[in-house]
């Protein structure tokens, strides 16, 4: 039965981890705007870095 002590410790550590993650998400502003990301994710974006570093080439976007 002593294993329950370990399990309780594990479960608390897990729960605290989630709480910390929640704090981090809050700080990053994940809960400030709940609409725009849903649109943003549908854009076929090129990775920003590559475009910034390369000279511009003409591409067709359709």
């Amino acid at each position: 039965m002593e294993v329950i002590f370990v399990l309780i410790a594990v479960s608390l550590v897990l729960a605290v981890t989630f709480l910390v993650l929640f704090f981090r998400a809050m700080k990053d502003g994940q809960f400030d705007d709940s609409y725009t990301p849903s649109v943003r994710i549908l854009f076929e974006n090129q990775p920003k870095k590559i475009i910034k570093d390369q000279p511009k080439k003409s591409k067709s976007y359709e």
Partner: protein
């Protein structure tokens, strides 16, 4: 965009989707309605950003009206102004957030987040679609703030920058704080429930004393963040209210929290029992949940706007014959300023130019531009129509005829007489009753059993903790707020609902509120118009943005225009154009040179003439908003109605004829008169609802118990108010008021429900029978059932009042 399609097949502008008129432009095999739209397309195609047009078709906004002034952003070079606008600045990078009202579709988001592809000095940008804001990060060594704004402006996304932006930064930190507290409370509550489970099922004994002690101590540890962090707002609020010698809802809550915590500590450490820590966690979690629910706000709307949000941020000042764009805050009395077509007069000034046409439509509701002669005083807030004018500033922008309203005492928030929320009023009685019962129980048991007396005393406080009671208000009001929002009636906060329920007097502004600025009755008198002259009329009025031209244009309905030779608009006078060698004129009597003028009591006359011969005239009168008469007769049944108007008294006859019922009319009211009228209503103890639209109503809106600003476009400027009503929903005002009253009844009913729980709980508590298990069941059941009850009933009422439509596709 007009709804009626022309018979002739016409190309739509590739950028903005408007019909391309005769002078359309072709570029890249695509049609454009104007140079501006073509320019935006060119910029985008050069930068491989034509995906903009792939996401949504014709996502742009017509650039016809765009101001082409080169130096209008010069004020952004001013270091003070720039620093106030920037969110962040270091040696290389600056961050700035702009409000761009035009953001309306996915293409907008895409383009604004790809700004870095157009200019490599921009590091990145992020759009908040709901708030219509974009945050841009740029290298301040390579590109200036002014150039960033210019870039946005060339793309058709001109940011709206006004004085108010300089004074304050919007703070989302309050909302984040409550959410964080909710997170902490949820975490602690959830874990406490897990550790308390064995207790409920008597499993703790099986596990042995060691485990039971561990679980209880863990609960104590977990309760600490709840008591000392998550509940902190309640302590502050309760303390403030006690210091003002009042008892608000938070006082009994704090009493309950303290009783819960201390008694549980005593139980756990002294008695070796389980305590009530899990119920304490649940209590705070549900309370905070209600708080977050109530905090719903309409992010794009601003309710606290004063004149600063209306006036421009910069003005063109003349210094030694040279134009200089300076920030408005640096404008001084005696400065000579230049105001161009469509620009606002920023301060009360004397006119130096020969004449001006000032559009006061937003300030006073006066629809037509007012002609002014040299030497006349022009009040701030008007908009010049026509040629640029010169003015000398007479008063600083904050001291003007209109802006002075904001210096009135009414704008000192503390002075505003507000109704006490229902919950606070009963909580005084409630707290004293509970304390009396607790003391009585203690007194009863003390002679027989001392520990039982202590137990009875504390458990009475614990059980009576008005969790359900204090949750019924936020959930009912929060839900009402949402339902109103669906009906395009946006309240500043949930407390407005309760005030709205107690309204006994309604004050209407006339122009722009009861009357519809966009709608008019048009009568044509004179010779019948041939289809050809209708086409000529159409061609003339299409060129003009003057309100009267717009109305005649609507009156002409589906007529198609024909090409005229040099059609021109003479601002403030009329329109002229030549067709088949004949000169056609449309405009004022002076302009058309009418000999025998017609006299009408109200409204405006527009004459139509060919080669100096008058064919006829249009009589254009403003009309009541749709449903205005019905609202007045409906509200008049049980409310006092008043109409305040800045117009002359001769309107009263026609108005009282159109509006049935008992209404007291007051004409010739200046902005300050309106404010004082509301003040006198307040002194009579009336609960007034003021409905107005313009800057001149700002004082009255502020002074009233509930001020409602009515607007055709909610994202545009509206004066400070408690609520913003979309003009489309004007006819629903009686339904909104009735619904607010229903919400109040629902709160009362749920109070009754939670009193029932309290009676059951208290009757157990005074006998000293309350156990942790019972408490753990009673607390959540009472809270949740109250929440379910209020939510269901408000939605049901919303459906019955026609504010929610069930079969919405």
């Amino acid at each position: 965009m007009r709804a009626n399609l022309p018979v002739k097949a016409q190309e739509k502008c590739y950028h903005c989707g408007e019909d391309c008129t005769t002078d359309s432009l072709v570029f890249d095999e695509k049609f454009f309605c104007c140079q501006g739209c073509k320019l935006v397309y060119e910029v985008l195609s050069q930068n491989d950003l034509c995906n903009y047009y792939a996401i949504e078709s014709a996502p742009g906004k017509s650039q016809k009206q765009a101001s082409g002034l080169k130096n209008r952003f010069d004020y952004l070079d001013d270091v003070d102004v720039a620093n106030k606008l920037l969110d962040f600045k270091n040696e290389t990078e600056s961050h700035v957030t702009f409000y761009i009202p035009l953001i309306h579709c996915a293409s907008c988001i895409w383009l604004l987040e790809n700004l870095f592809q157009i200019n490599s000095s921009i590091n990145g940008s992020r759009v908040d679609f709901v708030k219509k804001k974009v945050q841009i990060k740029f290298l301040n060594k390579k590109i200036s703030l002014k150039e960033v704004v210019k870039l946005l402006s060339t793309l058709g996304y001109e940011p709206k920058i006004n004085l108010a932006d300089l004074d304050k930064k919007d703070g989302h930190s309050i909302d984040r704080k409550t959410l964080t507290k909710l997170g902490v409370a949820g975490f602690c509550f959830g874990n406490m429930m897990l550790f308390s489970m064995p207790e409920y099922f008597s499993e703790a004994k099986l596990l042995g004393e060691g485990f039971k002690g561990l679980f209880d101590y863990l609960n104590v540890v977990l309760s600490l963040p709840i008591v000392f962090y998550a509940a902190s707002d309640y302590y502050v609020s309760a303390w403030n209210s006690i210091r003002q010698k009042k008892i608000n809802m938070d006082v009994p809550i704090v009493l309950g929290i303290i009783a819960f915590f201390l008694y549980s500590l005593w139980e756990i450490f002294m008695q070796g029992n389980a305590g009530y820590m899990d119920s304490l966690g649940g209590l705070l979690f549900f309370l905070l949940l209600g708080k977050v629910y109530q905090q719903k706000t309409f992010a794009t709307l601003e309710f606290d706007r004063d004149y600063k949000a209306y006036f421009p941020i910069a003005v063109t000042k003349l210094v030694k014959e040279r134009e200089e764009v300076i920030p408005l805050i640096k404008l001084q009395v005696g400065d000579v300023i230049l105001v161009r077509d469509e620009e606002l007069i920023p301060a009360d000034s004397l006119l130096l130019s020969e004449r001006a046409h000032i559009d006061y439509s937003f300030v006073t509701g006066e629809e037509l531009p007012v002609p002014k002669q040299k030497g006349e005083l022009i009040y701030a807030g008007g908009r010049q129509k026509g040629d640029p004018i010169l003015l000398t500033v007479q008063k600083s922008p904050s001291q003007g005829y209109l802006t002075d309203l904001w210096n009135n005492d009414s704008f000192e928030k503390e002075n505003k007489r507000l109704l006490e929320p229902l919950a606070n009023r009963i909580s005084g009685v409630f707290t004293w009753t509970v304390l009396t019962i607790a003391v009585a129980a203690f007194a009863y048991w003390i002679g027989k059993d001392v520990p039982l007396a202590v137990k009875a005393f504390t458990t009475v406080l614990i059980v009576a903790c008005p969790c359900a009671l204090s949750m019924s208000t936020p959930f009912t009001l929060g839900n009402t707020l949402r339902i109103f929002g669906k009906g395009k009636f946006y309240l500043k906060n949930a407390a407005v609902v309760e005030r709205l329920a107690l309204i006994d007097t309604v004050v209407f502004d006339k122009t722009g509120t009861l009357t519809d600025p966009g709608k008019a009755k048009i009568d044509y008198f004179g010779e019948d118009l041939s289809s050809e002259s209708r086409q000529i009329l159409k061609a003339l009025v299409e060129r003009s943005t003057h309100p009267l031209s717009n109305r005649i244009n609507l009156w002409l309905e589906n007529t198609t225009s024909i090409t005229l030779e040099n059609p021109t608009e003479i601002k403030g006078k009329g329109l002229v154009g030549t067709y088949k060698g004949q000169e056609f004129k449309l405009g004022s009597a002076d302009f058309v040179q009418v000999n025998n003028r017609v006299d009408v009591p109200t409204g405006n006359l527009v004459y139509f003439a060919v080669e100096g011969v008058v064919l006829g005239y249009f009589h254009i009168q403003s009309t009541l908003r749709e449903g205005a008469a019905a609202i007045v007769s409906q509200l008049g049944q049980n409310l006092d109605l008043h109409v305040l108007s800045g117009d002359h008294g001769h309107e009263e006859e026609s108005l009282s004829k159109a509006l049935k019922g008992e209404v007291s009319y007051h004409f010739n009211q200046s902005p300050v008169d309106k404010l004082n009228y509301l003040k006198s209503l307040n002194q009579q103890g009336k609960n007034s609802l003021m409905i107005g639209d313009g800057l001149n109503d700002a004082g009255a809106l502020q002074e009233s118990q509930v001020g409602v600003a009515i607007t055709d476009r909610v994202s545009h400027f509206s004066p400070a108010s408690d609520a913003i009503l979309d003009a489309d929903s004007f006819a629903k005002i009686p339904a909104f008021l009735a619904f607010a009253r229903d919400s109040r009844k629902i709160i009362k009913a749920s109070f009754g429900l939670s009193f029932l729980y309290n009676i059951v709980g208290l009757s157990l508590a005074v006998q000293g029978l309350l156990s942790p298990v019972l408490c753990a069941i009673l607390m959540p059941v009472s809270s949740i059932s109250v929440v379910i009850f209020t939510t269901l009933v408000t939605n049901f009422m919303g459906v019955r009042k026609g504010l929610i439509h069930l079969n919405k596709a």
